[in-house]
């Protein structure tokens, strides 16, 4: 029997539905998540199925929304909070960084915050500088939070469910350019463990470490490189915090070369951390410096010509790989 397929966005909705079905203390809150089903369609149908007690439209008040999630979680509920675009974290970083991430610690372990935050990252849709960012490094740097970034419909659903079952604050960073991608998605409420990377292609010559939409670009780059006789292994991190250092390092010990790829701005992005860890733990195994592919140091431009020049892609990964291998 052919595997069942859905889109990335439908997988999110299925995950959200599974959460609401299995956890009676859970609810979804955010801007236009109820009546509209989410501006991306991530919550379509949930209001009809679960009613306005469980699926809640909020005012445009990101700090209030996240604060509501923090207060509700601390007092026994399991909120799923939607922040429409990751760029809007600027409006609620205090509740994220100083409350959500730290409350448990500041209270000496007395508070538990089973909160899931769903948000959308990434460029490629001409949404310009304030609707296209990949700001995951802000949250990966904050002890107390977990961060996952699904690359496929399968992972979107499974990581979302895992996030909601986790008793900690977990950010599920979705990718808006992936929303219509199709892939196999079981109907069951399955879970993808947080903290485990996924080797999506094996290879002996080079390790490409990527996450979110860049996994597809890395896979395409691996195809292109294979045509040149280079076998790249592709590691989909899935989880950014905690990071599965062991899987990455084991791969590099085998391949002796690594390139970290993310869509976020390269400078001070998570790639720096990953590259630093690779050279720390696999120093003697490396035949070349760890390469990095990320966005250049500018805001995301509007015009397609510029946006395409801005975005990391297959071509840039291949070029970096050639430089590394030729070097």
């Amino acid at each position: 029997m052919a595997e069942r397929e859905t889109t990335y966005v439908a997988a999110i909705a299925e995950g959200a539905k599974a959460i609401l079905a299995e956890q009676e203390n859970s609810f979804v809150a955010g801007e236009d998540v109820a009546g509209a089903g989410g501006v991306f369609g991530s919550y379509r149908g949930l209001l009809d199925e679960f009613g306005p007690r469980r699926v809640i439209d909020t005012p445009i008040s990101e700090e209030g929304i996240v604060g509501l999630g923090v207060g509700a979680a601390a007092t026994g509920l399991r909120p799923v909070i939607d922040i429409m675009f990751m760029d809007f974290m600027g409006e609620c970083m205090d509740e994220i960084a100083n409350q959500m991430a730290k409350m448990r610690y500041m209270f000496g372990g007395a508070a538990t915050l089973p909160i899931t935050v769903v948000t959308m990252s990434g460029a490629g849709m001409n949404m310009a500088a304030q609707h296209s960012q990949s700001l995951e490094v802000w949250i990966c740097h904050l002890p107390g939070l977990k961060v996952v970034a699904p690359s496929t419909p399968y992972d979107a659903k499974g990581l979302l469910i895992a996030a909601a079952r986790d008793d900690n604050p977990v950010f599920v960073v979705m990718n808006k350019l992936s929303l219509r991608n199709r892939g196999p998605v079981p109907e069951t409420a399955y879970e993808i463990p947080i903290g485990k990377a996924n080797i999506v292609r094996e290879g002996a010559d080079l390790t490409l470490v990527a996450y979110s939409r860049m996994v597809a670009e890395a896979l395409a780059a691996a195809d292109a490189l294979a045509a040149e006789g280079v076998e790249a292994e592709v590691v989909d991190l899935r989880s950014l915090q905690p990071l599965d250092t062991a899987t990455v390092v084991d791969s590099v010990r085998k391949t002796h070369r690594a390139i970290v790829v993310h869509e976020a701005v390269r400078f001070a992005g998570l790639g720096g951390e990953i590259a630093a860890q690779i050279q720390e733990f696999a120093f003697d195994d490396l035949d070349a410096p760890v390469g990095r592919v990320g966005a250049p140091f500018s805001p995301v431009p509007f015009s397609s010509v510029l946006e395409q020049a801005y975005l990391p892609d297959t071509g840039k990964i291949v070029a970096e790989a050639r430089a590394l291998l030729g070097g």
Partner: protein, 322 residues
Amino acid sequence: MEQPSDDLLRDIHRRMVRIRVFETEAGRMAEAGKIPGALHLYVGQEAVAAGVMAHLSDDDWITSTHRGHGHLIAKGGEFDRMFAELFGRATGYCRGKGGSMHISNMALGMLGANGIVGAGPPIAVGAAFSTKFRNTDRVAVSFFGDGASNEGSFHEAANMAALYKLPAIFVCENNGYGEYTAQANHQAIVDVADRAAGYGMPGVVVDGMDAVAVFETAGAAIERARKGEGPTLLEAKTYRFFDHVGVRGMGLSYRTDAELEEWRKRDPIHMFEARLAELGVLGKDQAAAVHEQVLADVKAGIEFAEASPFPAPETLLEDVYA
């Protein structure tokens, strides 16, 4: 209070028509796939931008919203460079880097459309601070929506403007919805203007479909500001005739056809034209001529944009730093 002269009435009319035609054609262009990204159109709300902007010069500042074309046009924005920006061309006001959500023109005193709901008011407060610091009588007007009035940034900005008695005017364009959420589902009040008292400034409600009413109430607020008497919160009740984004939007049914029809009966341009005809200021034919002339300008603007080059990829890293 200043009564608008006949010329001024015709000027306001022209501003409204310029917005209407530009936005209608922009919507078409988007549907034809020529404008990428998110396009938030201003059709239905023209009386607000036109009535306010008729009081301002290039030395007065405004901040805008994601729905910013109307504000820029009313402030003097040229069609050619605006379309060029929406089309992502190098000749656009932002060299193709901003697009619809960041369209702007500093020389016209337009501090940008803004993709972040509620980001404008604090910036307007800074501009108002600036004109006061330099001892001019220039003002700063911040446009924002009913939805934006629930952002903390509005609250902080309003409080600071009142505290420092800044020449700022907060114009809330209450079109009844924040995206697909009706006002009753995002705040427990009917008049956003009721918030003014909490900052110590006057709050005024005006019919945002009535250009003259907007002109007059805005005039009073702006005069107050110019005299150093501090800010005003002006709420204009209005409606957007198109969907939240684009013309038809996502096809959600969050507003009834009946409601839309009710508001369309109060189309600000139709109402204004009827009034101008009655006053003998602008006859039917004259009004039609304005529409025609503006449409020709819009078409020329589109042609300019289409003939313009895309930005060179090398310009990607320009304009990050001064």
